[in-house]
Amino acid sequence: MNDEEILNKLREVFKEKIIESSIPRKNIVNIVVPKEFYKEVIKFIVENFNIPHIQTITGIDMGNEIQIIAHLGRSITINVRTYIDKNNPQIDTITDIIPGASFYEREVYDLLGVNFIGHPNLKRVILPENWPKGVYPLRKEYKPEHPKPLRGV
């Protein structure tokens, strides 16, 4: 199944639930869905296209909202993206569909403070245990104290 067939099939099944879709480059499929359908779309992709592999989950601080991208697939990359509210960042987990997504979700939880509802073991994975609560390094308002190297001898 090539990239266009996948995109057409997704458009056909989900219709207006897909806000935006495109093929920016060969073998890359971009779709944007509302966060309510995020899990549903991923479940459909995993089950119908026989793609059990998740490459990673990227979280991006876009200012007022956080963008979550799930990169799925082995030969064809399907980027399922959704936007969630930054003040109340919550989204369904996909670990029950893809067990391998566990660590990626924990990473996003750790660094951007996104709460994955239903994750079996949502703990810190990267930051130290005594890191202050509510400080998320990859959010834009977090400014590290030494963003530049030391100067002088």
Partner: protein
């Protein structure tokens, strides 16, 4: 029998890098494992947002020392996608050569470490000695042994002369011969087989479900390689075989990596034979246009993913790196947990752990600035001297 916890790491002779494996142990049997990978976080993703694209080449290179070429290739391919310009084919071929050289050295390094983990010091010494030839070759081509700084945005920085080409061919012959010998040793030495056969089993179905990548996945009999599935650089033109072995254990991981070395050698020879003529790089402006890009390359440890979001300025808005080791950690936890007939012993932990070829400095990339509010994390030279004097007097 009551169980107790044995911490392996963060400092442990078997671990070249800090990781904490909290092993739940009953006698010699491991019944549970908890992994803490938070010891190597350097904040590279955040730091990349503060540096321009040129500076980030060298920062990306330092995500990992061993597979640094994979990181630079991935980074440069990724950023080049933003520009949407054609890169000279000669540069793409040279990237393949240096990448495969890097893979050879990484796999040889791993073979030595595997020997070390099962207490076979002699194999360790011999393999690392022969790996030096590849390191010398990398030094000759790029100017440095480890941090190659070879690929850059728009191409590669140095060309291969006929003199260097001759050296590469000669070294490849020697490395091929030595690798053949090590393969025969691994297949014939009873103690190696005893320590690696049926150890650290990761069944095919588990490997797929837990999203394992790279040699770990291929050793579980899944034909998967980014170079074949989604070719990048010149990989669509260079023929090679994807190696798989069906045993799903550490022994099959040894065989996969050793056989991959042969494939790498053949790919390098092919590249040298078919090296296109032409320029090796094009100049690109410092500021890429707005956009985003995802690139995957096959690092020595598996699928490596870089994601960039550019807002049109000279610094990336967001840069995301997903390294192969992070993808393999769920599989590692599965490998180290006894369940049913499958029993893991403490003695098997180091080699099973090493069999995923972990590279933790890849895995952690987040900045630690201050742990306690009043304590400075970065000390000045004088402060450090004062502190050490004070501590010295105390003792």
């Amino acid at each position: 029998m009551s169980s107790f916890t044995i911490p392996i790491g963060p400092q442990h002779p078997a671990l070249p890098e800090p990781i904490l494996l909290k092993l739940e142990v009953e006698g010699e049997y491991v019944v549970g494992v908890d992994v803490d990978i938070s010891y190597m976080h350097r904040g590279i993703e955040k730091a990349m947002e503060y540096r321009n694209y040129i500076q980030n080449i060298y920062l990306a290179e330092r995500i990992c020392g061993i597979c640094n070429v994979a990181h630079t290739v991935c980074y440069t391919l990724n950023v080049e996608k933003l520009y949407d310009k054609e890169i000279p084919p000669r540069a793409q071929y040279l990237r393949v050569i240096i990448e495969e050289l890097n893979r050879i050295h990484s796999h040889l390094l791993w073979l030595g470490v595997a020997g070390h983990e099962i207490g076979f010091e002699t194999l360790f010494m011999y393999v690392w000695r022969d790996r030096e030839r590849v390191m010398d070759l990398i030094e000759t081509i790029t100017g440095n042994r480890v941090n190659t700084a070879y690929t850059t945005i728009g191409g590669v920085r140095r060309d291969i002369t006929s003199d260097i080409e001759y050296k590469i061919r000669k070294t490849m012959d020697i490395v091929e011969e030595r690798t053949k010998y090590y393969k025969s040793v691994a297949a014939a030495e009873p103690t190696i087989i005893a320590r690696t056969k049926d150890i650290g089993i990761l069944k095919t179905i588990d490997a797929i479900n837990l999203c394992a990548v790279g040699p770990l996945l291929r050793a579980s009999n899944v034909k998967n390689d980014v170079r074949a599935d989604a070719p990048y650089a010149a990989h669509d033109e260079v023929p090679f075989n994807v190696i798989t072995y069906p045993y799903c254990d550490v022994f099959s991981r040894i065989l996969v990596r050793v056989d991959e070395i042969f494939e790498c050698i053949n790919m390098i020879r092919y590249c040298l034979d078919h090296l296109p003529k032409g320029p090796i790089r094009i100049k690109l402006p410092l500021k890429p246009p707005k956009g985003e890009a995802v690139t995957r390359v096959e690092a020595p440890r598996g699928e490596l993913l870089h994601y960039v979001l550019s807002d049109g300025s000279e610094k990336p808005y967001r840069y995301k790196v997903r390294t192969p080791t992070l993808a393999n950690i769920p599989s590692l936890c599965r490998m180290l947990t006894s369940s049913g007939d499958y029993i893991v012993k403490i003695a098997d932990v180091p080699i099973a752990y090493a069999s995923i070829d972990p590279c933790l400095c890849c895995t952690g990339r987040v900045q630690i600035v201050d742990i306690e509010k009043n304590k400075k994390w970065i000390w000045s030279w004088e402060e450090l001297k004062e502190y050490s004097k004070k501590e010295f007097k105390k003792s």
